[in-house]
Every structure is written in structure tokens, then in C-alpha cells.
Symmetry: C4
Subunit: 251 residues, 4 copies
Amino acid sequence: MDEIDISWVAEPDLDDPVFVEGLPGVGHVGKLVAEHVVEETDSELVCRIHSEHFPPQVTVSDDSVAELASAEVYAVETEGRDLVVLTGDHQAQDNVGHYRVCEAFLDVAEEFDASEVYALGGVPTGELVEEHDVVGAVSDADMKADLEDAGVEFRSEEPAGGIVGSSGLLLGLGGKRGFDAACLMGETSGYLVDPKAAKVVLAVLESMLGFEVDEEALDDRADEMEEVVGRLREMEEGASPGGDEDLRYIG
Amino acid sequence: MDEIDISWVAEPDLDDPVFVEGLPGVGHVGKLVAEHVVEETDSELVCRIHSEHFPPQVTVSDDSVAELASAEVYAVETEGRDLVVLTGDHQAQDNVGHYRVCEAFLDVAEEFDASEVYALGGVPTGELVEEHDVVGAVSDADMKADLEDAGVEFRSEEPAGGIVGSSGLLLGLGGKRGFDAACLMGETSGYLVDPKAAKVVLAVLESMLGFEVDEEALDDRADEMEEVVGRLREMEEGASPGGDEDLRYIG
Amino acid sequence: MDEIDISWVAEPDLDDPVFVEGLPGVGHVGKLVAEHVVEETDSELVCRIHSEHFPPQVTVSDDSVAELASAEVYAVETEGRDLVVLTGDHQAQDNVGHYRVCEAFLDVAEEFDASEVYALGGVPTGELVEEHDVVGAVSDADMKADLEDAGVEFRSEEPAGGIVGSSGLLLGLGGKRGFDAACLMGETSGYLVDPKAAKVVLAVLESMLGFEVDEEALDDRADEMEEVVGRLREMEEGASPGGDEDLRYIG
Amino acid sequence: MDEIDISWVAEPDLDDPVFVEGLPGVGHVGKLVAEHVVEETDSELVCRIHSEHFPPQVTVSDDSVAELASAEVYAVETEGRDLVVLTGDHQAQDNVGHYRVCEAFLDVAEEFDASEVYALGGVPTGELVEEHDVVGAVSDADMKADLEDAGVEFRSEEPAGGIVGSSGLLLGLGGKRGFDAACLMGETSGYLVDPKAAKVVLAVLESMLGFEVDEEALDDRADEMEEVVGRLREMEEGASPGGDEDLRYIG
């Protein structure tokens, strides 16, 4: 296997598609959105990306077949813009690998003549969030007006710690290669898998790209998490009356 | 030395052999089985595999000769299928190395025209195990029926954490290269070197490949471990009456 | 992107310039000086250096534009010597990367025919410092006399732990390539961002290179830090009367 | 700079020399011996070996000149065999680097047509040692008889944990390349820099190679360490009457 290995399984014709990335990260927001879109639409797997920079492991499917660590790319045709959606269970495990794997992601985007990239993720607030804003960052300031119209907030020098990993590099490397790249980050505590944050990010994406998908699965997932949070609050209140909302990461 | 260096010492003719891997891992189950087969049969060392990705060290033999960290491959002729058995003291130490070393293992398998791969290991249960099942994962669902007949259990999406390291990659990379690859994992606590788990994995291998080896050495080793476990239980009961069975890793 | 990627944005003519490096490190002394010089002069960005060895991240600017991790190089014309100033938010994240990134820094210095290198930094004393000396190390003993005239102290075999990171390698690799390289290290506690240490290093640089810049911004920053230190002292004295001056790193 | 960079400063003619390595390690035994031999003889620096796999740092000499992390090789003519002695302050910092740096060491040995390699080090006993034996390991069992005559002990499968780092790889890689390589390990607590262990290793080396050097400097160093140990014992006895001899690493 090469350092990065792209196995194509389909080469559908898409019409001026947008590249959308959602990998594991803060609150798993990006991955939740990307997987939801893939599941709720007529999506088609187009390639798997394997890499020495992913963990040396396989996952085991429901029929006990081993699947080598990978990112997957799906073609999605919607009533609005067509999408090329990248998701998966892993980010690269090392510094250099992050750069190389993200360049490969952009190669795939180029393969589809996509010139716009949306990197989806979460931004940690450190406390439980009731109202989830979507914070944005862009490769080019000209992109901001349309995104603001779709509800994205732009805050000077935020997130303060920068954007780390695939989402950050898709903006940084994407911008360098001439893509119009935006990162959409749903506010989330940072302690919990957060389907509600995923919903607000999805809403921005739908507004920008002119499509709509059923949200029931995300709602159900959000209800489950609400229950978990409720139980945690009860435990906290029992243990330390008036305790703060600082919870460990749960999902 | 190259990044990976294969030193051939013999090139025996084997008849349609099966490639069997047993390296250190959970409960050292895979290594126990592979070494036992090599010791209890007329086996012949065919090559040593050295790599920069193995630890930078030598082991010292009984006659004080230094042996560079390596994996070893043995040719084994049995009354059933011929075997190419890979074992050793080390796995690769880094992510990229895991991938490259496993590709080299598969190169050796190809050298012998082996098209089937058995990766042996343990699956941790977190508690002391009385009955050891053998859990399986495969590169191709068609392989499951025969393995089930030999006593292997297939459980949907298990092990939940995937299969990490050489055994996992032999399935993942092996499948990608067209091998029929199966991972046979003996249930084991995860805290102890487990010759009993090794015996059940060996039994499946023997059944699949039509050979049989003396098991006395594994039984002796199992008896020793039983004594260790007994003493640990006593210590635990002394220290914390009704204590659980959560032990540190011992071997 | 290549392993190291230099994006040129201007190629000004400088007259026999000196290469000055100030990256994050002990007390952020080097970075404070380099950034101060760039801000207080008519400086011009000449190139950005990106590398797989920098962290896989972007920072977000005040107008929400993502900027890929980089080091930046500025051309500075002064009333004395011209300067090529390298600064940024990151050092390489791995051993090999440190070497390769520093070679690229020296390539940039050569691009400008600079033959002298000043690597700026701090040297930790482990306690709060009232009088900040500037300790020096050089690639060639002939450089010492002039630096001593400018107030630099040379102490045998100090700093005892050597000089680690970019500043150290610019001396080591720079000397190897024929540059006259000096490291100017302001004494600093090692616990705090230290604008006062930056001022004494700046003073040496100004004296050596015949220029002068306004110091108000560094003074303001120093006053802020004085307040922080004052509050910390009060807290310490409250908590442990006669307590020592061993503080955590704050900036 | 290349991944590994050998800067030659002299190319003396040596007569059938022996390659001797002593780098930092257990009890700093190897480094103590190698440096002592270099200092007590008419030695000549022949090359410096730099590498990206050494730490990214310089040390500062007594005249404040920065010296890039390196290993140094000296030519030593004795009344017995000529020596090529490798010493320095660093081992490689990563797995792959260990292998590559050691291959470069062996390249230097070949440059001098040395066919014998002595890797010097310590073997940790875990307790303070009164009588220091020298334990050996070899690349070829035929070497053992002469070494035993010189006082080396060969113990089956010891050290049990193998030999890690440069000394181990010089045996492993050296043996692979056809060198006669031996590792001489002085028994030492593992907690202290140990000049006494160095003396016994030196004695074996002198006996094998037919030379003798003044030992006063090692004796002085040993006396200093005796005092340190004495004070530590007193402190221990004060703190815990009848306390064991388990001390932290001190040097």
C-alpha cells in the first residue's frame, strides 16, 4: 500500500459539487452531520482513502468482516447543490500525516472539480450549551457575507486556540490551493457527543446549498443525549449542591 | 540495512501452504500458539525479518549471542496443510511501521504462494475466563461457514474496539491484496499470559487445517498460570473480602 | 504542499542585511523582540514558511480568515543595518523537523546574502529576575569581542543544558554552513512572558546593528506583567508567609 | 545537512584498529570509559557525526562556542592495538534514527578497515554493587573464549531485557554486516554514574587489546561518587532505619 491509497469504487457525474468534510472531533459534530447527510440521502460510496497515517487497525462490521481504517467519500445528489461528502472514524495520527492526508482529501475534491470546501466541526465552550451558534472561519473574507446570511457568526480571532486537525488544514491547505474553504463550527460543551450542535450546523449547510434532509434521526439521538445529561445533572446535584456544569466527555 | 530486511536461510518447497501469524499481543495468545506449533513439529526456519520499525535492541541467546530484533518465519509440514508460521518478540513501534512491516509479512506469504492467512490473537474480556470461546473476523464473509464449523464464533461488530496491530492489518491489508484472511481471537482476561486461551485457538487451527500437535507443553504452562491465579485470588481475598477479579497483567 | 514550502510575497533589495530570528521559547523573549522590531519599523512581509513539521492547524485572524501555521519573514530597513526578521507562532513539532525547518530558515538568509545570524531567546534562571543580563553564545569565538562591547556576557559552558530548538540549531547548523551566528539570551525567570528581558536583548541588538526603535509598547507590556507579578506575590505571601518565588508559568 | 552527516577533520593511518563505542547509557559506563581512553592517550579527533536524529540542540563550550549535537570519533594509537573510539553526549532520539545512526557508526568503522567492534556499557543490577563483574554478549560465539580469559562473564540469556540502543544495535547490525562485535557491560546499580564499573570495563578492554592507561582520573571520579553514596546512605538511615538501598538516579 502507498502512504495514501485511494480505492475508487464509483465515478459518478456530479454537477459543480461542493466538498463537505465531517470527521471525528469536538463533540463529534462534524462526523454527525456528514454521516447524517449520507444516510438521509441517495448517497453513493465513491472511494475509500487508506493511509499509513491512520491507526494500524481494522474495525469489524456487523457481519464480522474486517474493514481497514479509512476515510470514505460519498457522492450525494440533492435538490440543491450536489455534494461530495467525506467522513470516517479516524484522523491522521501524526503531524506530518495530517498534512499529507488532507492534501489527499483536496485531491479528491479536485477530482470532482469541486471548488468549494465546507469543513464541519464543533467549537468547545466549556459549559453545557442551550443555544448553539455556528461559528465560522473562511479562507477568503469574501465568503463571509453569504455565510452570515445563512446564520453563521464570525468572531474576531475565534476560536482563540485556532482550528486543529483536518478541518483546520482543509481551510489552510485548501486556501493555499485556491479553494473557497469555510469551517462551520457548532458551539458545544466539548464534553458530550452533541447532536443538537450537529443540527444547527446542518441547518447552515442546507441553507447555503439549497437542500433539506429529514432530521428525525438527529432528533432521536439528541433526545438520548438529553436523557444522559439529565441523569448527569441529577448525579451532580446529589453529589455537590449547586455544583457547576463541568462534566467529563461522554458519548 | 533497508527499512525492512528479509534474510532468507532456507527455501523449502511447501504444498499450498497457509500463512499463520502469532506475535505478542493480548494474553500473548497468538505468540503462544505460533511458538507451540513451531516447537512441536518438524519446523524449519526460513527467514528472519528485521526492520527499523522494530525496537532498537538485541536479545541475548542462551550462549550469549546477540540477536537483532526480528520476526521469524518457519516452514511447517503437517499431516494436513503445510504452514508458514510467523512469530517473534516484537510488533512495529510506530504507526507507519505497522503498515510497512505487515506488507512485508504478506510479501513473504506471497513468496510461498499462500493465499490464506490466519492471524492469531486474544480478545480481552476484562475478567477471568473459565470457558474460552474463539471469536473470529474475516476479510470475506464467505469464509465464515467453515470457521463456524470449526467452532469459531462470529459476533456482530466485535471486538467493539476493532483489531489493532499486526493481526488487524493482516486482515485489512491482506484482504485488500486478495488474501483470504481470518483473525482467530481466544477470549482471555487481558491481565495474564493465557495458555488456555491458546489451546482453544490451536484447536480451531488444527480443525481447519487438518493437523494435530501434542499439547502437553501448553498444559504445563496453563498449570503454572493456574497456580499464579490461585495465589492471586488468595491474596485478593485476604486483602479485600469479596474482592473482584480485577488483576494486573501478569505473565 | 512540500515538506517545507516557502511562499514569497515580496523580494525587496536589502543592503547587506542581518538575519534575526525570534520564535516562541523561554519567556517568549525572542518572539517579543522580533515582533516588536517588525511592528515599530517600516517592515515588509517577504515570505511565509509552511511545513508539515509545524502543528496541523490554522489560526483565525481578526476578520475570521484562517491562516495556516507558518513562520513569517520580514524585511526591515533601519537607520543602521538592514534586517531580515523571522518570527511566528510555532517551532517544529518533531526532532527531524527542527533540523529541516532551520535549514530552510538559513536558505532564506542566504537568499538575502545575509552572512550574520542573530538568534534571540531567553535563558531561564528559575527565580524572578530584577537585573536582566544578556548571555551569549556564538558560532565563532572571534565574534565575542564586539558582542561584549554591546553588553553581552559570555559564561563558560552556559547555559549548562545547551540551547534547544530553533535558536540552538541556527547557531549549530548556521556555523556549519559558514554563517557568523550568535544567540542572545535574556535572563528570565522562565515562568512568565518577560518583556523586560526582551528590552535588554533588544538593546544589545540595537547597539550591534546601529538602529533604535520606540520601546513604549514593550514598556506597557512590562507594566502589565509587573502587575501580574505583584498580585502573584501578594497571593503567595498570603498563602505562605516568607514563601519562595517559585511561580507557575504565566503570560 | 543530510539525515546523517559525517564531517572529517583528519584521516590518520591506523594499523588494523578496533572500533570502540561508548555513549551515554546505564551508569554512563560506556561513555566514561571511552572518554577516559581519549583523554589519557595521544588521541586525535577524526570526525564528527551529526544527525537529524540527535536532539535539536547545541552545547556551549568553555569559550561560549556552540557545538551542534554530535558523536565524535577519535583515532588512538596505543602500545597495543590501535583504536577508533566513538563517544558523545547523545543517542538517537527515535527508533528509526537509532538504526540509521548505528549504520553510520559502522560505516566509519569500515572506513578504517576495523573488523572488530567493542560496544561498552553498563548492566543495571538494581542495587548498589560492591564487586563489579563485566557481563558480555557477542555477535559470534567463537569470540567468547578470549573474552572469558580477559575476565568477561557470559550468562545465559542475560541481560534478560536485551541490550537496547547503540550498544545493542552495534552488535546486531554489526554482526549482520560481518563484524566481530562484543558488548562489554559493567555491573552497576543503575542509579548512579559509576566510575568503578567503568574501571572494570576498561580493564577488560586493556587486557584484550594490549594497552594500559593511567586510571587516576577515574579513581578521583569514583571517590567523589563514593562520597555522594555515603551521604545518601546516611540520609536514608536517618529517614528510615534499616532502609533499603533503592536510590534515585544521581550523577
